[in-house]
Structures are given as structure tokens and as C-alpha cells.
Symmetry: D2
Subunit: 347 residues, 4 copies
């Protein structure tokens, strides 16, 4: 019973089969092959964005950092939630790839930035100046690091504020499929129609082996992306094996099926947990993660059964008697019996 991360899961069999099928003969390297073109075309179709540039990279950190490097020069400021993955979990990759841009963190409950909080942060950061730098970009994570989602209107409200200041908008969509499945809206509505300029679209956490797509809705930035990807060490040579994953992931809406399943498992898990005495669900479960505060004995029992999960925040003291806050993540391959088994073990 592994609820540590959707990264701990495996690869969907249809994607594994697509990899095997792609392993046929010689094809041009570095994305010049037909599978890559097909995957790019399919993403453009799925996002109703015929002019978008589409590129593939092997990690989410590369996707985010390269995307931001198109929007932020070294003297730029990128506004993001204080718990954003780009701030807390990428070891300075955004700063590295942008050549020194500064992430300005915005507080907010549930991992979400409100228009008020963004406006306040912009006021605090003042006008662009040679001393203070430039406010250049907003980065939103959807689904958020707390498993919540921004809906279309929320995204649009935030991007409107950013665009009014001349800033561009990035979305970290490491769990975009989970957000989409949760909201049941069109991919385009949740991205470019709502003002998103670049999307890092995660496949790895949602059943792929290792591929993230970057959708650049303003294709003028595409050439620069390609140079940056190569010199960033993120241009995969046998590119068909990235693209084949993406094709299988999208075909027949597999990505949404997997995301829906993961979300449903998390709902189930939260429902069960909420019935346990002393357990508090800390965050409305909108996608595939459950954040709960549990009594010490429940925590210890969970560890004793070998369940994998993380303290959230990481910085809590495992020694002691206080209740602990934990994160449980479900994936495309979490089975209902994993959930019921976990609940039984904890009860």
C-alpha cells in the first residue's frame, strides 16, 4: 500500500505496449520522427491549439524551469504560491535555467493564490525598476500541491491581473490531468482560453514512464525553447520513446480515465479516513491527494503496516505525542482494495 507519491507507481500497460511497438527499426533521432510529430499534432488537437509549439522533456523540473526561462530573464520576478513545487522542490532549477530570476512567493490556503493575494504581492513588489527588477511572470500549479484545483474562472481572474501588468502566465501541470478530470472542462478552457501562455503538462505522475510535454501557446518562443532544451541537457535522442508514451496516454482519453480513477480513490480514502476517530481531513479532496491530521496511534499503526506516505509538511517532529499531518497520494494504479485495506489497517 503505497501512498507516497504518484511517482512511485508504474506505467500503464497500454503505454508500455506503445513503447514496445515504437521499438521498430531506425528512425531519425531528436524528434525528427513520425511518432513525435503525431504526438505533437494530437496534443495540438486535444488542446484545440493548432498553432501551439509542443515539445517533450524527460522531467517535470526540466519542463517547468525551461518554460519559465522563456518568460523570465535573470532580473525578472516570477510570482508563485509559497508551496509551489518550483519554489520548494526543484532545488533552484528555475533560478538556474532563467539565469537568476527571483521567485516571489504568495501565501494562500489550500495551495491556491487568490486575486487579492496576487494583487497585494504585486503592490509590495512595486513598479519595475533597475533596482527591484521586473515583474515578468505568474506561475500557477493546477492541480495544486495541496490537491486542490483552480477552476476556469479562477485561472482567468489571476491571469487577467498578471496580463494587465505585462506579465506572462505559466501553468505547472504536473497533475493537470487530475485537475481536468476533477473539473470536467476542456483542456483549452483551463489553459490558453483562460490566459495561460505556457503549460508544463505532466505525464509521468499519471501513468507514463517519464515524459512531460511543454505547450507553448505563443509559438514565437518555440525556437528559443529548442536551444534551451538542448543546452539544458533535456533533449532526448531516441525521441520516439517519449512521444509514444504521450500518444498512448492521450488515445481513448486514457489520461483522463487514469486521472479520474486516481481522484476517485483519493475521495474514497478521505471518506474512510474522515470516519476514523480523531482524524481530520485538512483539505477538501479535489484530486488525487488526501491531507489529513491523524492521532499518533493511527500514525504509528500506519507505519507498522508498511504503508508508504509522507509527513506533510516534512518538517514535523516524528518523535512526540502530538497528532501528525500526513499526505496520502493515489495514482492510476491504486486499487480499491489498497484503499479499503489501508482503512481497515488503520481502524
Amino acid at each position: 500500500m503505497n501512498f507516497a507519491s504518484d511517482n512511485a507507481g508504474g506505467v500503464h500497460p497500454r503505454i508500455m505496449a506503445a513503447l514496445a511497438a515504437a521499438n521498430d527499426g531506425h528512425v531519425p533521432a531528436y524528434g525528427g520522427d513520425r511518432i513525435t510529430r503525431a504526438a505533437q499534432d494530437l496534443l495540438r488537437e486535444v488542446f484545440d491549439a493548432p498553432d501551439a509549439a509542443v515539445h517533450f522533456v524527460p522531467t517535470g523540473t526540466a519542463a517547468n524551469a525551461l518554460s519559465l526561462s522563456l518568460l523570465a530573464p535573470g532580473w525578472g520576478k516570477v510570482f508563485c504560491h509559497q508551496d509551489a513545487h518550483i519554489q520548494t522542490s526543484e532545488t533552484g532549477a528555475p533560478e538556474f535555467f532563467t539565469g537568476g530570476a527571483k521567485l516571489i512567493t504568495v501565501p494562500g490556503t489550500g495551495g491556491k493564490i487568490t486575486p487579492e493575494a496576487l494583487t497585494e504581492a504585486l503592490i509590495l513588489n512595486g513598479r519595475d525598476s533597475v533596482h527591484a527588477g521586473q515583474n515578468v511572470a505568474l506561475s500557477l500549479t493546477n492541480a495544486t500541491e495541496w490537491g486542490t484545483v483552480y477552476d476556469v474562472e479562477e485561472i482567468a481572474a489571476l491571469t487577467a491581473i498578471a496580463h494587465a501588468q505585462g506579465m506572462a502566465c505559466h501553468m505547472d501541470g504536473a497533475r493537470f490531468a487530475n485537475a481536468l478530470a476533477s473539473l470536467d472542462v476542456a483542456p483549452s478552457d483551463l489553459t490558453w482560453r483562460a490566459g495561460i501562455d505556457i503549460l508544463s503538462l505532466g505525464g509521468t505522475k499519471n501513468g507514463c514512464m517519464g515524459v512531460e510535454a511543454v505547450l507553448i501557446f505563443d509559438p514565437a518562443l518555440s525556437d528559443e525553447f529548442e536551444f534551451r532544451r538542448k543546452r539544458g541537457g533535456a533533449l532526448v535522442s531516441k525521441h520516439r520513446f517519449l512521444a509514444a508514451q504521450v500518444l498512448a496516454w492521450l488515445e481513448g482519453d486514457l489520461w483522463l480515465q487514469m486521472a479520474r480513477h486516481a481522484n476517485a480513490m483519493a475521495h474514497e480514502l478521505a471518506l474512510g479516513l474522515s470516519r476514523l476517530p480523531g482524524v481530520r481531513i485538512n483539505q477538501r479532496v479535489e484530486t488525487n491527494a488526501v491531507f489529513a491530521t491523524v492521532p499518533r496511534e493511527v500514525y504509528s499503526r500506519a507505519r507498522a503496516t508498511g504503508m508508504s506516505f509522507h509527513l506533510w509538511p516534512h518538517t514535523q517532529d516524528e518523535a512526540g505525542d502530538e497528532p501528525l499531518s500526513i499526505r496520502l497520494v493515489c495514482g492510476w494504479d491504486t486499487r480499491l482494495e489498497d484503499v479499503t485495506g489501508a482503512l481497515a489497517a488503520l481502524a
Copy 2:
């Protein structure tokens, strides 16, 4: 009547004379000259630090960013006050020179970090990890951006926390002389004896034409500094003209005299302002800056007389009826009649 910044002031006549005197014949460039050696030696003596490496650079931003680059790799985190100059006013220079380190801002009144706030920030940032990066340095500004000072005990308490975590300690001493004059302690007590590893020591704001010294109390880092300074474009060729300023600045305690004078003028100004109806002094005046909130008519009268000063924070709205918060900075060359004249005009 210019209270905009101590950067707006001129050069002390004795320093100007030293520049003229240094302009004699040919000497080795890039710091190989005798004036440079003398200035380095004198600083080592003044700071009672016979082994310290001493280097000169032309700007405070270079001094800070180069100093931090010795302490923080690109995946490092540097803790500083949320109003620290390195965070608000150097356009990402620390990020640039370190190759992407992240500044973690700590809140605190009066521009000062408390041990509690530092400890909390360290807990929030958790242990070093490949995902979160490394907590590597603490940077303290003394005197602070709000004109307050950390005393010896305060510095020691903060550096002890940092050192206990394996972090190094930098001091941004753009206005170090003002702090020293305010506290009346030995330079060594306020720096390396209190746990500071590197000091950026500002001359420019305190009567020099343009020179900052970097004192590296652990001289093992000195060679790297020299490479970084050169490739950072901050190695001045006719080096004697940096060093000559430093020599004259230190000789006969001129630096402290100038700092004491500037501090005294600020006290005078604050005293007078505090007697004006509706004026509130926002920050105990400990060095050479006065932060006050003034009624709109006082503000307008000040502007009308041609007085120079800044809104503080910059982001206040100049239109409107509300009282405004302003910063008034005195320098070595602020005359008592400037202060009394200003007060008279505003009364």
C-alpha cells in the same frame, strides 16, 4: 536639502585629497601596488584580523553578490530579512553571482531578524535535500535598511543558530560605519568575534567616491574571490584609486567621525519632526535614517520646498489624502542648517 540617500552626497575633502595624492607616477595595476597593500593592512589592523583576506570592489552590489557567491552554491538557500537590500534592491545580483541560490526572506520589525524568526524559517525550510536544496548562509544587514542596528549580542545569537546548522554568515555593511558609531564597539566585536564570516564594508555611502571592501575572515576563500571578482567585471585596474579612498577614510577614524555626524543629524531631524503636529516617527532612529509618517500637507510642503527624499515603501500612492510614510537619510555632509532649514520649512 537632500535627504534622498547617502549616495547623493559627495566625497569628503580628505578622501578627495588622497585621490589626488595617489595620482603620482606609474604603479602596478590590479592591486599589486603599495597603496592597496597599505589599505588591506590597515583594515586587518582595524578589524584585529591579521589573517583576513581583504579585497576592494567598486559597488556594494558587487561586494554583496561576490561575498554570497563564496558561501552559496546554486542550490543553496540564503536567509535574509524580507527588506534586505540583497532581496529588494539588487535586481537578482545574488542569484546571478551564486548561479541561482535562493534568498529565503524572514519577516521582522525594524528590518531586523530575531532568533525566533530565524529558527522558524529554518524549520519551515527543513533539512537539506536534493529537492529542497541546502540551507547555506545567513545574511544580516547592519545597520539595517530601516536604520536600526543589531548589537553584538544580537549578531552572536543569530550567527550561533546559523553555524549550528552548518551555515555561514555574511554581513551587508553598506552602512557598517553608522552601526559602529551608534554602538561604540570594536569592529572585530561586531563582526568576526560575533560570528560573521564575510563582511561587505561600505565606503561609498559614508564619504567615499566609490569603494567597498570585502573582508573574508576565513582567508581560504580568498583565491576564489579573486577569480570571481575578475570574471564578475569588478576588478578595477587602477586599483590604487580604490585603496587610497579606504586609507583616508580610515585614517584618524574619519569613517567613524563621518558616521557619527550623519547619525547625529538624523537624531536632530527626528527630534524636530516628532514635534510637528501629526508627524509620527516610525522607527527608533539608531543611525542616519529617519522613517516618518507625515500628514499630506507636510508632505506636499516638503516637496514644494524642493527637498529630496523617498516614499518608503516606494509603493505608496502619491495621489490621495492619506498620510504618507517617508524616509529621510542624512549623510556625512548633511549640515545642521539643512536639518533646521528642513524643519522650518515643514513647520
Copy 3:
């Protein structure tokens, strides 16, 4: 018939099977899994280097650039052949990851640096100085970009020169298996016993889907590598799928079998080509690439048959009547009938 690159080839069936087998249940992400540990251990065993740190990355450019970043600060100089991949084909990745190090190119026939040429380059670059920077590393490619190999003595002679100057030694082993198969020596003899400090070991060009190993023979540098890999966007989350490739690649000496086959095919191809009228083999074929100058009609016939290969150098003029120089690369999956078919078509 594709002789464009060993990147154009597919994945060996045993490696593909290993990927499928690794796709079993949940395991820790980011390299905390057992498959990763097994692959690291096996590499340490194969290289007879029990203390070496072993890490995996998704691309050869990441492997090289990250490796160099451990050896070269931004003011360092890295000596490499003028045709080295790090100089000609990585778009400045080494400069990016090192923070600005300079590649000093050394000329030499057959893609190889001689001791004399290295010594001359070192003399020309003089002593370390604040103006000139530091000579910090030597990077050798083996097999070279021209398909030749350095033998053990050649490596040892070059690394001895470098080490005598305090420089460290990196090997770009994108085609290390081909070199090893050609020389029939132990991996350790061709690397750390010959003075190599860090090896980028390529799997992708030799039958893997996409994985490169970095062997750091001085494990003190390992922690820094991990930070650099993460902030460089090269830490793959579902790490078992990198490691599984490596395990299968090494098991039963599959890597050497594949390399031997590719080398043998290149020899066969060269032999046949050398018998064609007007064709000149430009480089002794020591591994899996053939460099030949062919009459224009042979060139046109090859293109007409749909054979894939590159002009080498790329900068030749395809229009005109002159003979053209081309590169033909064989891979683990080049069949003898591909070679004989190609030769028949060109005859």
C-alpha cells in the same frame, strides 16, 4: 538502411523486456529503489571500483555537462579535442552547467589529442591567473567522434600530463562500449586505472532506450552531483526505468556483444567501401563508424536508395561535382544484409 547515427536505432529486446519486468508495483521514486541500487552495484563491480559514486541521467549532454560541472568552476578551462562533442554538439551545455567555463580546443588527427598537442595547448594557456583563469580539466572522448580509440597507454599519458598540472580528467564515453570492445581491455584499465576521474558512460547509443551513467571515481564529489542533477532538471522520478536498462545492458556482457557487433559491421562496411572505385576511407575504422570520401555519383546513388547518413563535416556543399566526405554509423541492430545491401546499391 540507416547509417545516420546509433541514436536512430532501437532498443535491444532484452532491455525492453527488462523495462516491462521493472513495471511491477510501487517503488520509491528518485533512485531510492532496489533496481537502482542493483544497477549501481553492478557498475561498481564491472568497473572494479567499489567506492565509486554512480548516478543515472537521461541524456548524454546532461551526463557530460554535469560531470564537467564537478570539475570546472566558471573561471576554469577545460581542454578537449576541437571536434569533441562537448564543443561542437552540445550548444553550450558545458558552459551553462559550469557557470561559464571555457573549452580550450586542441587540434589532432582522427579526433585524438596527442601528449604533444596537449602540452602545447597548456603552454599556450599559461599559468593560472586572475586574468586568464584556471586550467582545471581535460576531457577525452573514447571512442572519439571520428570512431578511433585511445588505448590504455594513450589515456594514461594524457591524464598524467593533466594531473601533473593539478587538472582532473573526464571521459566522454558516449561510445565507451565500442572502445572497450575494440581494445578488449578491462573497464577499469581504460578509466580510473588510467587516470580518469569521472566517466560519462553512454547506454543510449548502444541499445538502451535512454540512459547514461556517470561514474565518479572520487566519491567525495557525489553529493554535489546530486544537487546539480536535480537543479539541472536531470533527476528522473521513476528511476527504476533508467536502472533497469543499465542492468539488462550489462548482464551477460550484452553491452559488449552489441558494441562488438556494431564495430564488426562498420569494419565490413569499410572493407566493402574501400573496394569501390574512387572511394577513400578517411579514418582507420576502430569502432562503429566509417568516414569515407566518395565520388559524387556514389553519393547520389546512396541518397537515391534512401540510405540515411550524414555529410561529415556537415558544412560541405551538397551542390557541385567534388567528392564528398560522409559518415556511416553502424549500431547494435545493423544487420549484415544492411551492409551488403548498401554496398551492392553503391557498387
Copy 4:
């Protein structure tokens, strides 16, 4: 008798007087003052470039590296002479400020690039590609590191080649005044009218205390320069003291008078040296440096008299019997008796 470098010299008395005169009262910092505006305007007038952006920095390395950073992204290639200061003597500053651009060195006698050599280098570097990077800029030094000059036609021929490839053109004018004095042409003819896009104009080596101007003939790049200058630590706060130097330097053509004098002294010195038995002048003396090969006994005598000068190249072996090649640089303050004294001592 100091012929080590024009950096070893002092400041012209009129420039020192201008510094003293500028030291009057409070003025806005960071270039907002009237002296800065006057110096910018005067440079625009002298260069007949009413729209040019003009900025001041404290070092030549900052001027060059910041200028190149406007023209070259991290994946760009900058073509320069193999002996260019940016390649040999700035410790990777161009790579640092550009974020990793690669300097492609072009050989050529007398420190000069010929159209043929540039064309060959461009062919060798081929077309832009994601693997090879982009050819983005040409950097010419005038006067060159070997004291020679490019005339207007030579500059125009080289910039035409570069512009035809979509590349921009930078001039390192650390000794631009010496070139101008040598050629007796208009500043505009030797720069923007001949195709130069950005000029680093050196004051320091030619009688200033420490100031370099950057003239950006396409003012669209000016804003970015200002951000880059600040975060590069090269924005001097008491800016009037940079500008005052420039004003005095230009007024009454002082810069050209000083350069003419330095050039004349070098001619005199070369003439005298050429008459000494066994001495060979290695480079036609076109500006203020003399490159000569001298018998060992002449060399030893020169060292014995305390004359300062450099071996050129630095890497020659001072032990031994062979003749040695040296560089002797004259400055604005080299006196005729220094020259005759030196010649007498060596005879």
C-alpha cells in the same frame, strides 16, 4: 620607466580637476544627475549618433561582457580573434554574463581577423542548429591586443560578413582612442557607419581614473543593458564621478591628444629599439604598444634598470639564452625622457 601597461599610469590632471569640481553638493545617484546627462549627450555628439544609448561602467571587462550579453544568448557563438582580451584576459566574464555563450577564436597575424579567416571560421561552424548553437556576434578589438588597427574599410568588410549571417557586431575599444588617433578618422566612421552595433569605449587606459562607456547604437537594447548592469554589480551609485571623467576626457579633444602622445612615444621607442643590435620589432607600431624580440643581454639589462614591461606571450621561459619577446606600452603620461632613458639604458 614603466612600460608594463597603460593601466599603470595615472589620471590626467584635467580629469582629476573635473572630479574635484564634480564634488559639489548633493545630486541624484545612479546616473540621474546632470553631469551624467551631459557626458551622455557629448558622447552622442562626438559619435554623431543622436539616438545611441550611452552607459558608464567601472571596468573594461564589465563593458565588454555586458555588451556581449546583449548580443549573445547562452547558446550563441561569438567570433573573436584568438588573442582577443575577451578570450585571453577576462577569466570567462563573457561566458558568465551571457549565460554560457561560446567564444570561437579566429587566428590572424597582428591580432587582426581577415575577411578570409572570418569566412572560414563561419563555414567551419556551419549553420545554426540545436546541436551546434547559433552564430550571433562578431567582436573586434580596435586597437588590437597587438597594437595594430583596423581601418574603416577593414571594419566594414568584416561587419558586412557578420551582418549577412544575421550576426551583430561589437567593438572592444579599450584603446579606441589610440586607434582613432592613429587613423585620424571620425568616431562614427570607425564604428556605426562601419557596421559596429555596440562599442565598449575605454577611458581608463587613456588617462581616466576608471570609467568605460558603452555606446549602444541600437537604443532598443538600452533597457536590458540597465537591468544587466545593475544585477552585474556594475551600476555605480555616485555616478557623477564616472561621468565627470568622461566629460573632461572628451573636452577639447583631450582623449585624442593623450592617445596621439602615447602613440608617438611608442613610435619613438620602436625606432630607437630597432636600431639596437639584435633587436627585432615584431609588429608594425600603429598605436601605443611596441612588440619586440630582444637578445637575452638586452632583456637582462632592461630588468636590471628596473624597467617594467611584460613578456609577450607570457608563457616564454625566462630562464635560458634565447632571445625573448616583450611588450612595451606607452601611455598618455609617458615622457620623451622615459623613452630616451630606456633606450640609453638598453644600448
